[in-house]
Symmetry: C2
Subunit: 447 residues, 2 copies
């Protein structure tokens, strides 16, 4: 972090010189000022926000963590806190209020005018991870019978508070969304043109209860920078902006990666998780996988006599099950991701099966070859070598098939396919692989 910036911000805040502070801060991006503030002491942060003008302060406050936003607002004079809260975009306020203790949230809400407070409460009640929860009501609405000049006048009046001004949402008489016009279309249109003359195309919107991941998919499919959110009867309640949906895309990818690694998703950034939290997220799957894997001990115990007779068979256990696990992990991660981004669907099952079995076959042949080389180098008998090679072939194909089919079936059953993690496939293939190995050993070695 730039130490000069921190020093400058401190000096100007302590002098309580609003004009100089505004002027200095305006030279930078709000994000960078917020980053510098995060490195400062709480009293310094407080003195910054009591000095800076409200519109500029709000822009910066938006970038801070909800806990810090609360701490700062809570220590301010009520009227200043109230002005900042009202200027903040409504989705940030909702996120702030839901991140603090309900008692604290109640206190914060008293800073808000009645009608605004009611609106915020509605948004707080939308389910987590839905489109409604992400929406902001700071958008510009226009009436269908307005002309472009009327609309421009309206934008000039309310534009300062809106999060996005590139699109104007055209509403019918009951607040229902009837169309979207871009600011560009308004400017390019002849004066006097009515909005209904410009409106065209079908209006894409997302439902308030839609999962955030689906809403993100709609937005990236159509290359929108914002998408309107509607409730019953197509009544418009707000918009979701692309920056919030980029966060969703990051979040969902992180969750999938953590699940594929065999852990429950963390929900919060890494360092926000205590050791206890990490433990809880991880132990669940470790125990489930342990119980599943425990089966391998029984398999090996069952073949105790075979093992005693040919102790060399044991040398290849980790190698064989390892190779099976690796193949399975490759296939399952590729397919889970392909399902998540919509490249593959359930109806492609047969195509996927064919592709994976073919690939598995060639991989298996290669691995069988190197397995027999390995057995030769280790100096075990050629008989054992062939058992190892044949098992490698079978296990690789088997792992490919299981890893191809399981995620697709789970996807169809509306279970998140990412629960079929690499570790899950590895564990599944371990037991079945061992049975194959010993069955082949008994046949080929006449045990």
């Amino acid at each position: 972090m730039d130490q000069n910036m921190i020093q400058e911000l401190n000096i100007l805040s302590q002098e309580q010189n609003q004009d100089s502070l505004n002027e200095y801060v305006s030279r930078f991006q709000p994000f960078d000022i917020a980053a510098a503030l995060s490195e400062m002491e709480f009293e310094e942060q407080l003195s910054f926000f009591t000095t800076i003008s409200i519109p500029i302060g709000t822009e910066i406050l938006e970038y801070l963590e909800p806990e810090l936003q609360y701490k700062i607002l809570n220590r301010m004079k009520e009227d200043l806190a109230s002005s900042l809260l009202i200027e903040m975009s409504s989705d940030t306020v909702v996120n702030l209020l839901l991140s603090i203790h309900p008692h604290q949230a109640k206190k914060m809400m008293e800073f808000l005018p009645n009608d605004y407070r009611e609106k915020i409460s509605t948004f707080m009640n939308y389910e987590p991870d839905t489109a409604g929860r992400l929406a902001t009501f700071d958008y510009i609405a226009a009436r269908i019978n307005w002309t472009v000049d009327q609309t421009l006048q309206h934008i000039r009046k309310v534009g300062h508070d809106a999060e996005i001004t590139s699109y104007i949402y055209v509403l019918g008489s009951r607040g229902e969304l009837t169309g979207i016009v871009s600011l560009k279309e308004i400017i390019l249109a002849k004066p006097g043109t009515k909005l209904e003359e410009i409106l065209q195309g079908d209006t894409i919107s997302v439902s308030v209860n839609m999962h955030q991941q689906e809403a993100a998919a709609v937005l990236s499919k159509y290359n929108f920078v914002a998408v309107p959110v509607v409730a019953q009867d197509n009544r418009m309640i707000g918009i979701i902006t692309v920056d919030d949906l980029i966060d969703v895309i990051h979040e969902e990818a992180t969750e999938d990666i953590q699940k594929l690694g065999g852990s429950q998703p963390l929900n919060e950034p890494y360092f926000k998780n205590s050791v206890g939290a990490l433990y809880k997220k991880r132990i669940v799957w470790l125990l489930i996988l342990f119980v599943a894997e425990a089966y391998t001990s029984s398999v090996l115990k069952h073949y105790e006599d075979t093992l005693s007779e040919q102790i060399a068979l044991s040398f290849f256990i980790p190698l064989l099950i390892g190779t099976g696990g690796n193949t399975g992990s490759q296939t399952v991660t590729t397919l889970v991701r392909a399902l998540a981004v919509g490249e593959v669907e359930f109806r492609d099952m047969f195509k996927v099966f064919k592709k994976e079995v073919s690939t598995g076959f060639f991989l298996g042949i290669t691995m069988a070859t190197v397995a027999i080389v390995r057995a030769f180098i280790l100096g075990v008998s050629m008989d054992i070598g062939s058992v190892v090679a044949l098992s490698a072939l079978f296990i690789v194909i088997w792992a490919s098939v299981v890893a191809a089919i399981l995620p697709m079936v789970l996807h169809k059953l509306k279970i998140d396919p990412a629960v079929v993690s690499g570790p899950f496939i590895t564990t599944f293939v371990d037991g079945t692989g061992l049975i194959t190995y010993f069955t082949l050993a008994k046949i080929i070695l006449h045990l």
Copy 2:
């Protein structure tokens, strides 16, 4: 896909009725029309694009795959193909020309006017995965000494061709980027105001050679919908729009997921990969991991006598190494992702180490407990049970430590930490875990 839409498009295209086709198509989103077209025969697609008006046709053509874009343009009359190519956004044209055979690209480029062709060639020469390659030069530039009215006039003139009109890029006399104004600021400003009076804040841009992932990070950090791309001397060459960067974010997450699964990234959507391509991407790591894992055979051979004496020790081999692999996979995927999104950096090494060792310790204690229970159920001696439990404790902690440190060190060495995949960690922990297991066995069982 909507069969009615396909039928309607076909009828109107065959009638060569441009007005009715334009009117029908304008009722829908270009993406949806493109999706319907993808389901149609090539001759039908061709007749659609020769009937529809150029501006509307271009919007839809942009959504098709480059190979199809080429096939269609190649079969058209030259002047129509030329008009469509010129109307397309420049980044789409670059992508098209780089996706087809150089001979075909050369032919397409002859459809372009000289100056446009030169510009496109420059963009085609930027390295893959850089900001330059993603940039489009269809943006609106203004001069620093213009007034807002002059700027608005200019927007009205050139706005139709621009990809984004919400931001106007203000250039100095040598084409250097000196600031950005939003369309909103221009509309809200008093007539007669000069652009230099509105300009404020420092202008964030990305360098033409910056990696696309970094450019995406800049855009999502500042919540921009577009970011300007500059070459030497701050000379502006184009903008990258948020929709292209969303694709980058998806692409990079997909690559990380595939690498973490132990495969080389596919670069193309799943079904575009032939069996041969999948084989090539997977066999590399399978072989590397096989060679690494081959070590376990030598370890087991080394302990052959110990194994023969206590065959029961072999029962727990898959269980112990499996548990180690699972723990390692959980930690490594979480950290690789945390590094990728910037939640964790190299300087956090010690904090990460402490957190992972502590978590590993508690996980290890739990797994040791269930391991001893499992040994008891299987009916092996309590001595062997304690060897298994102690090994489980050690292996879990060891796996956590390795999985925590390796990705951070690689990140520091500028090697993509995602190469430390789940399978990689599993393989690494397998060998070392077995040595621990047999060492403990020799000590405790006095072998």
